[in-house]
């Protein structure tokens, strides 16, 4: 049976052989095929089919045909080997039932017996695949052994002989061997060989003839002739740019780009692995470059590959593209981002996976910006796992910082994944305004991108569609539109220019916003260029004030375009920096001028004109260039000037010189200028005559007749004034007294009011003349014409109050000038001045008095209060025991009672008392000083030193130290400043300095202020106690009047002093106790110094208060020229020792000059 089949195959091969003999080559299939070579004597039972060829199939179908070819030019024999002829056949791999013709083999060289034996036994088999490379430049044949051939790799040589492609119809018959070209194939170690044949692009559709020569082990195999059209076996390059995304519908969209350089359509095959296991979409062959994979699961990975092949199924599949993996998130939003316009409706879908389980859509809730929960009415359940939310009538997104979108969250009840969908809502209501220029050749459209610009990555462009005529009632976006380039201006507007234009074509425009998320269009607007014309302003604008009529006339020329009827607008106003415009409308399109009444005919008016279509379409033009009127005479002066006179000469004489005065006419009256004045006279004897006085404003004439009437006319280029003032000079009338009283009241330096009363008269009063002049200066008189009915008049002028003015009021009758009433104004100037001074002084005095009184009262009350508040507890204060503080009769009683028993004690002091310590820190430098010091020491180191009371007033410039016979020393000095220390227990902690040194300094640590410098006590202190270490002095400057504080001693204070060891034992006997004095300002004269010995109050020098005692030279007013100079320390700070004390600082006073007590005297 097998033999039968083989014979059938052999017959088929013979058939092919015959075909080949007829120059029919083996057509190379797109896929693999096999080349099998075997000796003919193995066609019996020993022949073996190539591995991989299903025997049953080939035999059953009877397609296995081997054809032996014996070309004339390639007759081969294996004569040298064994004279065996190898038959080579092509076997289609895919069909496995299709064979090719056979070929012969020729042995040209010696081979080993073994090899030849093997060949003879097994034959040789190869898998071959040929294709045209994707770049369409190279034809490749790849062959690999079907099984291990007994070749030595080094011996394997493969050559491909080919005839360059020709059209099949043009195949030359018979074929010529020398028309073939040969290329050597490169073989690898695995005996795989690849042959490259360059194919010209122009011959891709031609037929390529070729055959293979395989030489190894001395045996050369030659394949049958093969033919192929390269374009039919193209193997494209793999598709490029494979990428995936979740579509708005929730599908996985796999997209790729077709390989380049392929001039024919392709089909594609996609291989998609879900989570690396299940294969999806593997068998789909599509022609599009994208594929939708549905039912995408969240949290899954999708590995996708794609390959390509010619759409007509010819050719070879390309290699698979590189795998691309796409992993879906746990929450899938589709669409993940939406760009939409305000007012629209959008929906988001969501699949939520939580903890490896897809959440039921019923549990899904939606939030916006993690801040606002969306109402459930907006939810929709699409499926078990897909939830949908719909937003209706959206508002534009307000940027929040850098975020220009709303974040939409799909949440599992109370759990929201951090991923969100982005919702961009843009307000696309962009207003496009257009304007056609005055020449009707250009239309400029402007629009502002506004909020659209906040959308990053977006571009905007204006698109338009032009209709042939007019606009549609409801403009819509036309599918065919054009793009217009627009330029962004500095003001943020885009400007697009259409030029030339179709005046009556409707331009439907809209703004397209392009973004990666899509594009949005603004609502379209249709503009008709003819209806948005902004005309040119009217030209040839002229203006004038018309003569006689006195109207402001303006004329203009309408612009060339548009030809429509126009309306005009005129604005005019007085020329100046800020013109107050008035507007006048002209609706007559044929008007070229307009006349307007203006109040001031003699002013310069500025005016402009603009125009607009009468039907209201379009815009107003710009204002024309301003035109200005020229001031000129419009009319004759409305009236003559007001006149008055000055009469000179003896009033008793019959002839008097009269000087007429008049004021130049203002423009409002002269309209608008006066060229000259004419004085018109009228007398009963001489009649009427005129005199031209030119531009002068005064004229003198001789008044000789009983009555002389004059009139002054103003004349300009138009004519003479019609209404003029007459003035009649009549001798009788000068005696008519019509003014009963006249008084003048100055209101200010620029205004004086005059009031008068008139007595009834038989004459016709025309008006009044007020005349005034400064009597102290030679000023000209000033005058005013007042209507006759006025009874009071405010004269505005520059008046000097201290000057005297004369005011006169003349009644002017028709019959002549009446007798005036004359008064002198400001005659009470001095009294008024004194009154004015009184007005100022009296209030000051009164207020000062009140203030002083109040101060005294307050001070008195305060002193009393403080005094009684500071009354010590008699139980704790020895000195106070037995005193009745409730009703002290006098201060003396209060203080003198215990003065003798008090050595130290707290003081009941008013505020601002001072305690000071005295220290001596400067030595005397000359003998005189020493002498003085000695004298002082004699004074102060008496045995009664302790008993000596030294009263020092703080801050005195000078102190007089006097010694009384009763060893009382008082210091008188001028107090300059109040102390700020209430009271203190002086704890003198003077350190014992080296008293034998010249500069021995005695310090009081308890008080900083009681220092003694250059003390004269230095030398004498060896036997005396002017070693002030233990001295304690109270400085009690007075502050409150009528109050004297006693120097007090409290037991507690003594104990304190002892505990602190302030007073050394050796000087204990020389303690100098504090000595205080309290006085008041008022009682400085009667100030007293209280001694602890006498227990009586010493009289105090004036302005002196016992506060401190100093023997200073530099800072205190101590001794000057051998005088004891007692003063106050400068810049000493008084440290309070008791709670009641206040710290204070005093300023160094000047050395008391000539006010010191000369203790030596």
């Amino acid at each position: 049976m097998i033999f039968q089949k083989f014979y059938v195959a052999l017959l088929y091969c013979e058939f092919l052989y015959v075909i080949t003999a007829l120059n029919l080559a083996y057509p190379i299939p797109p896929g693999r095929f096999k080349l099998s070579c075997m000796p003919p004597n193995t066609t019996d039972d020993t022949i073996r089919l190539p591995v991989g060829i299903p025997k049953n199939t080939s035999s059953l179908n009877g397609d296995y045909v081997a054809v032996e070819t014996k070309f004339n030019w390639s007759v081969t024999y294996i004569s040298k080997l064994s004279k065996t002829t190898f038959h080579c056949c092509f076997i289609n791999e895919e069909g496995a039932n299709y064979s090719t013709h056979a070929d012969n083999m020729e042995g040209e060289t010696l081979v080993s017996a073994v090899s030849s034996f093997v060949f003879q036994q097994l034959g040789a088999n190869w898998n071959i695949q040929c294709w045209m490379k994707g770049d369409l430049k190279l034809f490749i044949c790849y062959m690999e052994p079907l099984f291990k051939n007994p070749f030595k790799n080094s011996d394997l040589k493969v050559h491909l002989s080919y005839d360059p492609p020709e059209e099949i119809e043009d195949l030359p018959l018979p074929l010529q061997e020398d028309s073939f070209q040969t290329v050597q194939c490169s073989c690898s170690v695995q005996e795989c060989c690849e042959c490259h044949v360059p194919i010209p692009t122009a011959r891709l559709n031609g037929t390529l003839l070729m055959y293979l020569k395989i030489a190894s082990a001395g045996v050369t195999f030659q394949s049958p002739l093969m033919s192929v059209q390269p374009m039919h076996v193209v193997k494209p390059d793999p598709p490029l740019g494979l990428h995936m995304e979740i579509t708005d519908d929730g599908n996985l969209k796999v997209s790729w780009y077709r390989p380049t350089l392929v001039p024919f359509p392709l089909q594609y095959q996609v291989k998609c692995l879900e989570n690396s296991t299940s294969v999806r979409e593997a068998d789909k062959v599509i022609s599009a470059t994208s594929l939708l994979v549905g039912n995408v699961l969240p949290g899954s990975s999708y590995e996708v590959q794609v390959r390509a092949k010619r759409l007509d199924s010819s050719g070879i599949w390309s290699d698979w593209s590189s795998p691309r993996i796409f992993t879906t998130q746990d929450v899938i939003y589709f669409p993940p981002k939406i760009l939409t316009s305000a007012g629209s409706n959008v929906s988001f879908h969501c699949i939520y996976k939580s903890e490896d389980k897809i959440v039921s859509s019923k549990k899904i809730v939606w939030w916006v910006n993690l801040a606002e929960k969306i109402t459930e009415s907006q939810y929709n359940i699409v499926s078990d796992h897909v939830s949908k939310v719909t937003f209706s009538n959206l508002r534009a997104t307000k940027p929040r910082g850098n975020f220009t979108y709303d974040a939409v969250y799909c949440c599992n009840e109370h759990e929201c994944h951090h991923r969100y969908a982005e919702l961009y809502v843009i307000d696309v209501n962009i207003n496009i305004s257009c304007e056609t220029d005055g020449y009707l050749t250009k239309m400029t459209c402007r629009w502002s991108a506004g909020t659209v610009q906040s959308l990053l990555g977006s571009t905007v462009q204006l698109r338009y569609h032009r209709s042939s005529l007019y606009c549609s009632a409801s403009p819509s976006i036309h599918p065919i539109s054009q793009h217009k380039d627009c330029i962004l201006q500095r003001d943020g507007f885009y400007e697009c220019i259409f030029q030339p234009i179709f005046l009556l074509s409707g331009y439907t425009m809209w703004i397209r916003i392009n973004h990666s998320l899509g594009s949005l269009d603004s609502p379209p607007a249709c503009v008709l260029p003819d209806s948005v014309v902004k005309p040119l302003p009217p030209s040839s604008v002229k203006s004038e004030i018309t003569i006689n009529s006195g109207l402001l006339k303006i004329s203009w020329e309408k612009p060339l375009f548009p030809e429509n009827n126009l309306q005009f607008q005129i604005r005019y106003g007085l020329s100046g920096k800020e013109i107050q415009w008035k507007v006048h409308e002209v609706y007559n399109p044929k008007s070229k001028s307009a006349s307007l009444p203006v109040p001031d005919l003699c002013a310069v008016y500025a005016m402009q004109v603009r125009c607009k279509r009468l039907d209201g379409l379009g815009y107003w033009s710009n204002w024309s260039h301003p035109a200005y009127t020229v001031v000129r005479d419009i009319k004759a002066p409305t009236r003559g000037p007001e006149i008055w006179r000055i009469t000179n000469g003896d009033i008793t004489k019959k002839e008097r010189n009269v000087t007429l005065l008049w004021k130049p006419l203002m423009k409002n009256d002269s309209l608008c200028s006066v060229k000259r004045y004419v004085v018109k006279h009228h007398t009963s004897h001489n009649g009427t005559w005129s005199e031209d006085v030119g531009n002068h404003t005064s004229f003198t004439f001789l008044w000789t007749e009983q009555a002389h009437t004059v009139t002054v006319l103003a004349i300009n280029s138009i004519g003479a004034s019609s209404a003029n003032f007459n003035l009649t000079f009549s001798w009788p009338m000068t005696k008519v007294n019509a003014v009963q009283s006249l008084s003048a009241y100055p209101l200010s330096s620029s205004c004086v009011v005059l009031s008068w009363t008139l007595s009834p008269s038989d004459y016709n009063l025309m008006y009044l003349i007020i005349e005034w002049k400064n009597l102290n200066e030679d000023d000209d008189i000033k005058w005013l014409r007042i209507p006759s009915h006025v009874k009071k008049y405010y004269i505005h002028d520059h008046f000097i109050p201290i000057e005297e003015y004369q005011f006169s009021l003349y009644p002017i009758f028709v019959e002549g000038v009446g007798s005036p009433k004359i008064i002198n104004g400001f005659t009470q100037g001095e009294s008024q001045r004194s009154d004015a001074g009184l007005y100022i002084t009296v209030p000051i005095i009164i207020s000062s008095s009140v203030l002083l009184l109040g101060t005294l009262l307050i001070s008195h009350q305060r002193m009393k209060k403080l005094f009684w508040e500071d009354v010590p507890n008699p139980k704790n204060c020895s000195w106070a025991q037995g005193l009745n503080f409730q009703k002290p009769e006098t201060f003396e009683h209060l203080f003198t009672k215990h003065t003798g028993s008090v050595a130290f004690g707290p003081l009941l002091l008013e505020p601002e008392t001072i305690s000071e310590d005295i220290s001596v820190d400067t030595s005397w430098k000359n003998k005189d000083e020493v002498v003085s010091a000695t004298m002082v020491s004699l004074l102060l180191n008496t045995s009664d030193l302790e008993k000596t009371s030294i009263c020092i007033s703080e801050q005195c410039n000078c102190a007089k130290v006097s010694e009384a016979e009763s060893s009382k020393v008082t210091y008188e000095h001028e107090c300059q400043k109040q102390s700020s220390v209430k009271y203190a227990t002086l704890v003198s902690n003077l350190k014992s300095n080296e008293t034998n040194s010249e500069q021995g300094v005695v310090h009081s640590a308890a008080s900083k202020c009681f220092s003694i410098k250059h003390s004269p006590l230095k030398d004498s202190s060896s036997n005396s106690s002017w070693d002030i270490e233990t001295q304690a002095l109270f400085l009690l400057p007075d502050q409150q009047p009528n109050m004297i504080s006693p120097h007090l001693s409290c037991p507690g204070l003594d104990e304190l002093l002892e505990l602190q060891g302030i007073f050394p034992e050796e000087n204990h006997s020389e303690k100098s106790v504090c000595y205080l004095g309290v006085t008041s300002i008022k009682e400085k004269e009667s100030g007293v110094c209280l001694t602890n010995k006498s227990g009586v109050l010493c009289p105090f020098p004036a302005h002196c208060l016992l506060t401190d005692i100093r023997f200073l030279q530099d800072s205190c007013s101590c001794f000057v020229e051998n005088n004891f100079s007692v003063g106050t320390c400068g810049n000493k700070t008084f440290v309070p020792y008791m709670p009641q004390f206040q710290s204070c600082s005093t300023h160094t006073s000047k050395i008391i000059e000539n006010k010191m007590c000369n203790l030596t005297a």
Binding site: L469, Y470, S472, P500, D530
Partner: protein
């Protein structure tokens, strides 16, 4: 012949469908205004004023202007020729005039449609023979003569529009 009204309706359909109902008076007014505008544009071209009307220029007979324009159809034909001429002229102000002529033709069409006049079939107007050659040889003459004759034709049309032109 029975198809002719239908064809006219179909040809008018773009206007009827797109353009909102336009009062005939407004269309007439716009037509007149546009004619005046074109005349003013021509007047505004300086060299068009310098052509003497006494001299007759020969060789430019293809430019209409000698015969009165009595009908809308004739208006459209005349305007079409002028539009073709001005479109061929080098860009100057002529582009705007050419656009105006196109608008004017559309208005004439609209007027014709409102009067149920057969629409002038000028879209397939034959291209003027040897226009390019004449342009190349005598551009100035062509321009000034065309402007001058167009001005006259437009004024003629203006008068006819006042009278009420026939189809």
């Amino acid at each position: 012949m029975r198809w002719r009204p239908l064809c006219q309706l179909l040809c008018l359909w773009p206007y009827l469908s797109y353009v909102q109902p336009m009062p005939i008076q407004k269309v007439q007014d716009d037509t007149k205004t546009l004619i005046k505008t074109i005349v003013t544009r021509i007047n505004d071209i300086s060299h068009s004023q310098s052509v003497s009307s006494k001299q007759r220029v020969t060789g430019l007979d293809f430019i209409p202007g000698f015969h009165p324009i009595l009908s809308l159809s004739k208006m459209d034909q005349t305007l079409a020729i002028y539009q073709q001429i001005f479109t061929s002229l080098p860009p100057h102000n002529m582009v705007q005039i050419s656009n105006d002529l196109e608008n004017l033709r559309d208005l004439v069409h609209l007027l014709a449609s409102t009067k149920s006049c057969p629409l002038p079939q000028t879209s397939g107007l034959q291209k003027l023979e040897n226009l390019d050659g004449v342009m190349e040889a005598s551009l100035y003459s062509t321009e000034v003569v065309a402007l001058s004759r167009l001005q006259g034709s437009l004024q003629d049309m203006l008068q006819q529009l006042d009278v009420g032109p026939g189809c």
